[in-house]
Symmetry: C3
């Protein structure tokens, strides 16, 4: 190996393997991004998001905001994306996320950056892989946290199976994770005084929903390679699984995989038909990408209302805990669900489910 080769390896990053993480380490991610009007418009053009609070300045001002706030999931995906080069470049699997707490709204012109703390490490029994848990924060330019979440990924070890146990990680450290975000972060704005159901397109306020209610969002949207790649670049996520069609040919998938966060954004946009007043996302309690989504797949979604929550000292708004299920190439009239037991037999239905998202939205009350 020549000197130049060695230098090369030092300059361009292949991302981290299991041994490169240490418990308690704080990683400041690169690429702070100013969210301009263009970023927001591209997001809407790629996801079909039409929640009125995010697309109409006059509506947003009428209900107490400076201007239309940036969509919560765009912020989520950008913060997630900024963390990818350091955390999950080499991820074999994005195992899950939890405790996603939307702390405040961002506006056009603000800049978001991200940092992560390693809060858990667990080498797998094979010695070939390990699980890394991080708590990631999105911060505005003044350093105020706007978003916080935990995610965990499976990454390879450098040592490999041959050196089982030799990864240097100090044993097992799995962080306790809350089954739900509590207490919820509640918007400080008083919302409903000028809230216009005419503008949102739905007469259904918080009072109109009930636990157990199921909503088929009806519409389907086919995803194209160009779309998910543009979105994923917008999110600053540069994982090769989404972009490198040549390399992906020699994987079991045989092709590029749509970034799961973009699937969430599309599912969220689909929920507009049935939940048009649910303009604010407060928290994601958990999420599961049950199957991969590929270009050419058509996504559908349905939602079950899991819980209806009054909010302390707030007569203007209420919360709904929802589980939105997104499918590929299967309309949701039958309300398909993943089997509850892990080892359950695969069915065409369970194979069609690409996402289950457990989250809480805020709606105006009457």
């Amino acid at each position: 190996m020549s000197d130049a080769d060695v230098l090369s390896r030092q300059k361009s990053s292949r991302g981290r393997v299991f041994e490169d993480f240490s418990l308690g380490e704080v990683i400041e991610h690169a690429s702070p991004r100013t969210i301009g009007d263009g970023e927001v418009s591209i997001y809407h053009a790629l996801t079909g998001n039409r929640f009125t609070l995010q697309v109409s300045d006059p509506f947003a001002r009428d209900v107490g905001y400076h201007a239309a706030p940036v969509d919560d999931f765009l912020v989520f995906n950008m913060v997630f994306g900024q963390s990818v080069p350091d955390i999950s470049s080499n991820a074999i699997a994005n195992l899950g996320y939890a405790e996603v707490d939307f702390l405040s709204q961002l506006y056009v012109g603000e800049t978001v950056r991200a940092r992560s703390e390693v809060i858990g490490l667990k080498e797998n029994s094979s010695g070939e892989t390990g699980v890394v848990y991080v708590r990631t924060e999105g911060l505005d330019a003044r350093g105020t946290p706007v978003l916080r979440f935990v995610r965990w990924v499976m990454v390879p070890t450098r040592a490999g199976a041959a050196a089982k146990g030799a990864s240097g990680a100090a044993g097992e450290s799995i962080p306790p994770l809350a089954a739900q975000v509590a207490p919820l972060t509640i918007p400080r704005h008083r919302l409903n005084k000028f809230w216009s159901d005419r503008d949102t397109g739905s007469p259904h306020r918080w009072e109109d929903y009930e636990a157990g209610e199921k909503i088929d969002h009806l519409s389907g949207v086919t995803v194209e390679e160009a779309e998910h790649m543009m979105a994923t670049r917008l999110y600053l996520n540069n994982s090769h699984t989404h972009f490198d069609g040549h390399a992906m040919k020699s994987t079991p998938f045989g092709r590029r995989v749509v970034y799961g966060g973009h699937v969430i954004s599309i599912a969220r946009a689909l929920t507009h038909n049935g939940l048009a007043n649910a303009c604010i996302v407060s928290a994601i309690h958990g999420g599961r990408h049950a199957n991969p989504t590929f270009a050419g797949d058509t996504l559908y979604a349905w939602t079950e209302v899991l819980e209806k929550q009054e909010l302390d000292r707030r007569q203007d708004i209420g919360a709904l805990r929802l589980r939105t299920t997104a499918t590929k190439n299967l309309p949701c009239a039958g309300f398909p669900r993943l089997p509850e037991t892990k080892g359950a037999k695969k069915t065409p239905e369970s194979e069609a489910i690409v996402l289950e998202l457990d989250y809480t939205v805020i709606l105006p009350r009457r």
Copy 2:
């Protein structure tokens, strides 16, 4: 059917059928949209629009505008799109539009909303479908109309053929429609003092065109699924025919159809080569989407000057009434036209025509 199912049907909308419309009803459409810099840029990147007035702020200011105005067809498509969930979600056919009157220019940062009045209803003889006529207005945030048009669509009845005549619609009511917009809405700005042919790329002013003149716009542009879906989301049009590739497989088309308004926008952009000084659209008198456009089709266009109009007390500008014909996969050197008679035999030429648009543009005079 469970209670939850019933609730579900109440929350997400399947759109209206014939019986849901009543004559004289005014429908305020949801989703007012702030047109930011991003929306405008995406429009240009997707259509190839290069009319100088819409893309250069200094040029626009020199000729008397505050800034580059938003493209007329972007406004048209957004207003149209906002009306889709209420008017044409279930449309079997978009039969036509008329009396499209561009009342004033919009600028970046303004918000457009839409409302429609039902001005005609006609149940078809089969009882299975009916035609709905609406007059739709686009309004800015202060409620000033910026655009007005009539369109009519064929929608199914709820009653169906079995209940012929029972749709409840009070007989036949077909509104009178003008064969052309008159008088024309004329821009108040005095245009030509600093109008720069160097900047627009054409020395041809109003005086240089003659009735009967034919212009082949030469260029062809292939349309991709990702492009037309991004554009159609930008326009807020959420009709499943444009997005749901899975459902469209079981239709005679077998695939997604490109939204006709996007075809108009592309045709308009193609006319730049030959009509580069025609930066302002005053009216659309009528339009016909003769055949569907699909992803992979290459669009071409040619224009015939139908009429040359002087404008009262305006020596700075003149009007041209044009008919632009757009084709798919057929260059327009032979100036292809639709047969004038309705039942005429189909020819490869007539099958290639996707659009005939009869409209009036404003050009500077010398």
Copy 3:
């Protein structure tokens, strides 16, 4: 031929052939374009550019700019694109460019226009084609040059082979072209005081690079039709080779070709991994599009440091002359190169190379 046909030919432009150029002629190109926030965002979403100076306003302000400057290659491609309708609509080949000098930074809201001077003309021996050399300038709204470059293209003659030598061009006039831009244009801003390696994502400053060093940028990105067409429209380049899939079927390529300038932009974005502090481009000394890129190709890149240059009276920054090689469907771990001799046998490696770009970047010093 009817009068209308004749008129038609006068209104829409087929672009220039060899005889239409005359030495010393200055062509003012049409379509001045205001670069808004949207244009910049679309550029980043299409190229994956993540150089921090161009995407973060706070970072840019900290190091002395008003705001994040517009990416140098976006400006280059827009100026190039504006010149296409006049210079290279009919180009059989874009033979090369040289002396690309980035004179100053543009900011969002500024308007760029272009003009070209014909500096060389050479009819080829067949009489069927000729080479046109132009020096093109990009200017801001005040007329200040922001960018200057030379390019040369092969275009057909009107006379054709039958009239060899009769093209009317006054013999051979090949302009002298510098092998490199010298002296370099150096940013006036003092850069490194608040330069944050944390934000750029790389600890590697100017001092850390050495002549002869090779950097594999590792990532691959597949290009889609929708993406390159959106980008090419953004750049205002309307050459039919990039858009007209129908016409391109009957060419040897059989399909649309990705615009070479977009390949440069993608290659530049790929270099971020290994050169993240190289946020400023000073000059392009030469470039070679060795093979065409088509939709579906996956692009990779590697860079050799050709020269390390100190800059007069500047302790804050230094220059690196680089040669970036981009390939299609071939990762760059083996550092593939084009054969030095022109007639060398084609190899799978040389066939995979789509770009060699010789250019100079500015990096902060410690």
